[in-house]
């Protein structure tokens, strides 16, 4: 049926081997050598991830988060120091549990107590440059550990979840088989003939590569390019021509003899339209792909991963191509973003990104104090109401997919929007690869036929640098259905969308590794700065007594705490030493998210809480970095004690008195939390601060 066999293009293998031989002294230092002179595809990526996990057991773990339709694993490489970090559940002892003994809560892993960053590639299978960038980042991190102080510190304190192939079936078909497949694979019957995936593309001339077939056709939409006769130029919609017209189709025959070619391929749905955000179906219209949100196994694996890893604050989803980044939103207008998040996205992340890709940064981002002036100026020059609201138009290199001038959404059910809206994550979608930016001596393209100029230049570039191996010259061939014509054209792996291996690809990888490194530096980090212990009262025999702390007097009654006990005031100071806050602007109130909490633990039989509760909610700890262009509105600040908890009314056992008296609401990056407790004996107590996205820290204290 399908003539092509699983094999990589021989030339790439040769080049890869050549690289191994020539660069041996260099790769020797790497435990798992990697080169970027050929695409890895599904097979080599999987092998690389397994090899890395084996070679670096102390700082990596390979997690299978799901399985594609064709049974390929969806893998996340977790990079973090497996010895550092802690989680709250490791410190709280649960007593008198229900007899049913349901084991539905898995033990938390240490990395879940660290601030997390997600990096993914190839949600669209034919955009595998993203996979390469992921592998490059993995390589930089694992080889930089213990070599580079900053990388070492990041791996010790943070966690990186790297998923090089969200869509392994699409990558396999695109790279290994040379059948570009944006969608996932699905076992389905597109043409409703009772057979599944029986008519995909074919290698009709048996050269191992599925290229294109062109034939003369008076109704054809293509002509041959004058300047570069190997290229076919597509005519405009109503464009007329005196030249010979051609039709260009994929190399394909009608496998099931139903009169159509390629009408039932393996390709299924667009995974980046299968997320819940703004997905809808109604009255014969559907926004988004699949029979329901997360219907695809790949989407579901991602949804489940994010549900269970609520420590992620930064996310990148690599696509191709264009050489720019989409920040949210594409599904809704600008106003749905929290003002603070707009500032973080544009003034901090966007600015850095534009610098890295060497593009002009908008003036308003450099002088955020003058935003009002820019807004006034824009009122006269811009028709984009959202730009006027912000004070700047978004530059081409850092944009939203929402069509602001037409006020129309780009699409439905996209991953980055969903990550931002549902989990409160600074998610972005970067469209990798723009030859103008990423090939050093690439000609400047101008005028209306830029696309054609670009193709000519790329063709020339591969002639010069890759011995012309990325393009198959047209050769006469008799198509069994279409008759005489020629087979040839770009080798599909290099036809469009993906950075050429070698220098161009490394250029792309390096810029985006730098960008991800920059983002990692911004992650929050909650620390316990100090715990102060102040013994207020000691006795060997319990008597009635009154203790004065700095708020209410507390009466200790005989018979409540028996034996030798002391009344102790404990003061903990916690601080977010990271650049960004422990939740994004949108984050802390979302379903599934929670404000930061601090616990004082020591066993109920040993301590009695006189003031303050065993755990207290401390809200969101701001970061150290001032957010340019953002003025915090006076917002409701979470009180440090959970006095608003609905459970208090009904199940109160301890006195819940907040140390935060009115007018003393704590904001900023530090919190001071106090407890007044009666302690029996000399137990070791623990202060645990558990910030969902700022990390979990523990400090043992002993009262002597």
């Amino acid at each position: 049926m399908r003539f092509i066999k699983t094999k990589t293009i021989p030339v790439l293998r040769v080049m890869f081997l050549a690289f191994l031989i020539t660069s041996l002294p260099h790769v020797f230092a790497q435990k798992v050598p990697i080169s970027f002179d050929a695409y890895h595809g599904y097979t080599a990526t999987t092998k690389y991830l397994n090899d890395v996990a084996k070679a670096y057991p102390d700082i990596t773990e390979l997690l299978k988060i799901g399985e594609s339709t064709m049974g390929r694993p969806i893998s996340v490489l977790i990079i973090t120091n497996n010895k550092t970090g802690t989680t709250l559940d490791a410190h709280v002892t649960l007593n008198n549990m229900r007899k049913e003994n349901v084991q539905n809560v898995p033990k938390m892993k240490k990395h879940q107590g660290k601030p997390g960053q997600w990096i993914s590639g190839s949600i669209h299978g034919n955009e595998y440059t993203g996979t390469e960038v992921c592998l490059y980042i993995i390589d930089k991190m694992i080889t930089g550990y213990k070599e580079n102080d900053e990388i070492t510190k990041l791996i010790d304190k943070k966690v990186f979840y790297i998923c090089p192939m969200i869509n392994p079936d699409g990558v396999y078909n695109s790279v290994e088989l040379g059948i570009p497949q944006r969608y996932n694979s699905m076992k389905k019957d597109d043409d409703e003939d009772g057979k599944i995936n029986e008519d995909g593309p074919d290698d009709i001339n048996g050269d191992g590569i599925i290229t294109q077939f062109r034939y003369k056709d008076p109704k054809g939409r293509y002509i041959i390019d004058d300047a570069e006769p190997r290229l076919m130029v597509r005519l405009g919609k109503n464009e007329d021509t005196t030249k010979e017209r051609w039709s260009v189709v994929s190399e394909d025959i009608d496998n099931d003899k139903d009169g159509k070619r390629g009408e039932d391929p393996e390709a299924g749905i667009d995974l980046n339209r299968n997320f819940p955000e703004v997905w809808f179906t109604d009255d014969g219209l559907q926004g988004g792909s699949g029979s329901y949100p997360t219907s695809a196994p790949e989407t579901r694996a991602i949804a489940e991963f994010f549900t269970n890893h609520t420590n992620v604050l930064m996310a990148q989803n690599f696509h191709t191509s264009g050489g720019f980044t989409y920040r949210p939103l594409g599904t809704s207008p600008h106003g749905k973003l929290h003002a603070k998040d707009v500032a973080v996205y544009d003034m901090i992340l966007g600015r850095k990104y534009l610098e890295l890709i060497d593009k002009t940064v908008p003036k308003a981002w450099i002088y955020p104090d003058s935003l009002d002036v820019y807004k006034e100026a824009l009122k006269k020059t811009s028709k984009n109401k959202y730009a006027i609201e912000r004070g700047y138009e978004l530059p081409r290199g850092w944009r939203v997919s929402y069509n602001e001038s037409a006020d129309r959404r780009y699409s439905y059910g996209m991953a980055s929007d969903w990550m931002y809206m549902q989990f409160g994550i600074y998610a972005t979608t970067t469209e990798l690869w723009n030859p103008e930016n990423d090939i050093s001596d690439f000609p400047k393209l101008e005028g209306e036929d830029r696309y054609l100029q670009r193709n000519r230049a790329l063709l020339k570039y591969q002639d010069d640098h890759y011995d012309g191996k990325y393009f198959i010259n047209w050769v006469a061939f008799k198509h069994p259905e279409l008759g005489d014509g020629e087979v040839g054209g770009w080798v599909p792996q290099y036809r469009r969308n993906n950075a050429f291996p070698g220098e161009p690809l490394i250029n792309v990888c390096e810029k985006h590794w730098q960008f991800e490194l920059f983002r990692a530096r911004l992650l929050p980090e909650v620390e316990i700065k100090d715990v102060d212990i102040n013994v207020l009262y000691t006795t060997n025999k319990a008597q009635s007594a009154s203790v004065q702390s700095d708020s209410d007097p507390v009466k200790i009654e005989k018979g409540k705490s028996i034996g030798k006990f002391r009344v102790v005031e404990i003061t903990a100071i916690i601080e977010n030493t990271g650049a960004l806050a422990t939740h994004i602007g949108r984050g802390s109130t979302l379903a599934g998210n929670r404000p930061d909490v601090i616990w004082l633990l020591g066993g109920n039989d040993k301590i009695e809480f006189l003031q303050g509760t065993p755990y207290q909610k401390v809200g969101v700890l701001e970061g150290k970095k001032t957010i340019p262009g953002y003025k915090a509105r006076p917002e409701k600040v979470a009180s440090s004690a959970s006095a608003s908890s609905p459970y208090n009314r009904r199940f109160r056992r301890f006195r819940r008195v907040s140390y935060d008296q009115p007018g003393k609401k704590q904001t900023g990056s530090t919190r001071t939390v106090k407890w007044l407790i009666a302690v029996e004996g000399t137990p070791t107590l623990k202060v645990v601060v558990a910030s969902q996205k700022g990390g979990t820290k523990v400090k043992n204290i002993s009262i002597k």
Partner: protein, 627 residues
Amino acid sequence: MKTLKTISNITGILLFGFIFLFNSGKLSAQNKLQTSPGGYHGENDFSISWKRYYTYPEWTDMMKDIQKKYPHLATIESIGKSRMGREQYLMTITAQSAGKHNTKPAMWVDGAIHGNEVNGVTSSLYLIWYLLTRYDYDSYVHELVNNTTFYILPGLNVDAIASYVEFPNTPNNPREPYRPEDNDGDGLYDEDQTEDVDGDGELSTMYMEDPKGDYKLSTDKRRFIRISDPLEDGKRFRMIGSEGFDNDGDGLINEDDIGGPDPNRNFPYGWNLQAGNPYPMSELCTRNVFEFQLAHPNIFVGFHYHNTGRLIMYQAPPDIRKNLTPQQSREQEEQVQERLKEMRKTNKYAQLVSRRVAPEYQHDMDVQLDIVTTGARILKNYRPVLSGLSGQAPASTYYMLGAYSYLIELWGMPTFDADEDGDGSVSDVEYLKWIDLELTGEGWIVPHKVKHPDLGDIWIGGSPKKHMRRTPPARYVEMEAEKNSKFVLYCASQFPKAEIEEVTVMPATHDLLWIEIRVKNDRVYPTYSDRSIKLGRAVKDQVIIESSKNVSQIELIEEYNLFEPTNQGTKFKPLTGKTTEFRLKGKETVVFRGLIKLDGSKGWIEVKVKSKNGGTDSKKVNISVGP
């Protein structure tokens, strides 16, 4: 046009039998048929006690056993595993000799999507039992099982269902699938669950003696009652809350019980994050259901059993009224009530709502009102109300599958017989009297003293036991199940049936003859819903004309509407060729007319009607034109 005369000069119109697809002669005769209401209907052929609740192993074994007894009518399969690894068993009931399950329109029934609503399990099991045991005895059931497929999933949320029956629980928990959740935002998941502190197998309420408390014991010492007079003397109590320990030592009790997303907010249609966190179809138990439903496009109606409240919640098309002022909506409501009052003069169960739907949805709205009017009659003290969206299962059944759907809130507090003073609610005193008289005292937890490891000396009690509020005491299980089964069966009996009522041939002019075909559906449901048209899932009905070689059809253009000259009001659909597509609504007769040409004096035509959900029918007519 020449005046048409009726057919007296056409002789020999023969009618060849009326063949309903599924009810063909292949079926064995119903030799155990019972026609007397006082006779035996098969209930001991497979006997089950309906006076108790069953554990998960018990009721799944029961399903397997009854399937073995009736393998020609029932098959059993697991549609998948739950979060905790329990199988979700589904039973498919249809007479296999009369056609494969996926070729017949199907009724979907699921129970207990909320694990604490285990009455849905017993009601679904009862339906299985009723269909299977009565098949040989009851001609009504016999025909339904021949013509219809029933997909019955007695327990949807199997993990919580299993716990609810076997362990001490409050009426409200466990309700959701067991996805770990941090309800109290303390950073721990499901860490403070309910416990049976006194070990009596029930979860009640905890009280503590407290001079400042606002409760006291009633004089009969059975209840804690609120103190109204602040100066009243006597022992006082403070309510702590439902029974349990402080597992995580944070000072709160039962504040983070087993739970997870509400499975009935987990379906895709109208899903939202606030109610449906974390994502649509996130739970295995709901995803398995929806995947099954998507793979079975023959599902025509869906029933979803819940507790409690005695409600028939029916899914209706969207309301198209927008931006009504309060005044306008009040006026509309008044008009509807006025009309309803009129309607109820002849039928006290009549239903009408002030929802206005788009014209292309009007039939669905009418069908639903018709069905629930009868539903209210069958279920008697159940009240039909409109069902909502927000990720609820019935919303997806209707809006995404195009199947009519009903959410039944089974059972309810015994207001109808315990409310002695007729004030519309059952007071504690009336409730206790109901327990004493009708449950002979069973079902109440008398307050008693207990030692609590976190709280010291406490009191527990003053509340009803399990299966007293949300789920009925076991003795009422059959009462609820029986009438609810009847409602499901009634709906199945109203599945569409396309019949050729009459084929007539009349002379037109010269050698041309008029052919008139009357196709009727006397059931409430149409052959496909308005919604399925919108979804592109509808398969149109067809009239197909076959004939002897000497008969040819004159094609009429589609827009050509013919009128009976003597009765201008009757509308015909023109036959547009060998096959004419149409839609047969509920309780509708569609009349087709076409022109045929007969060469010679004798010939025949055969008319076939094909409908995906309405079945097929055919009639052959011999024509002879003679002197």
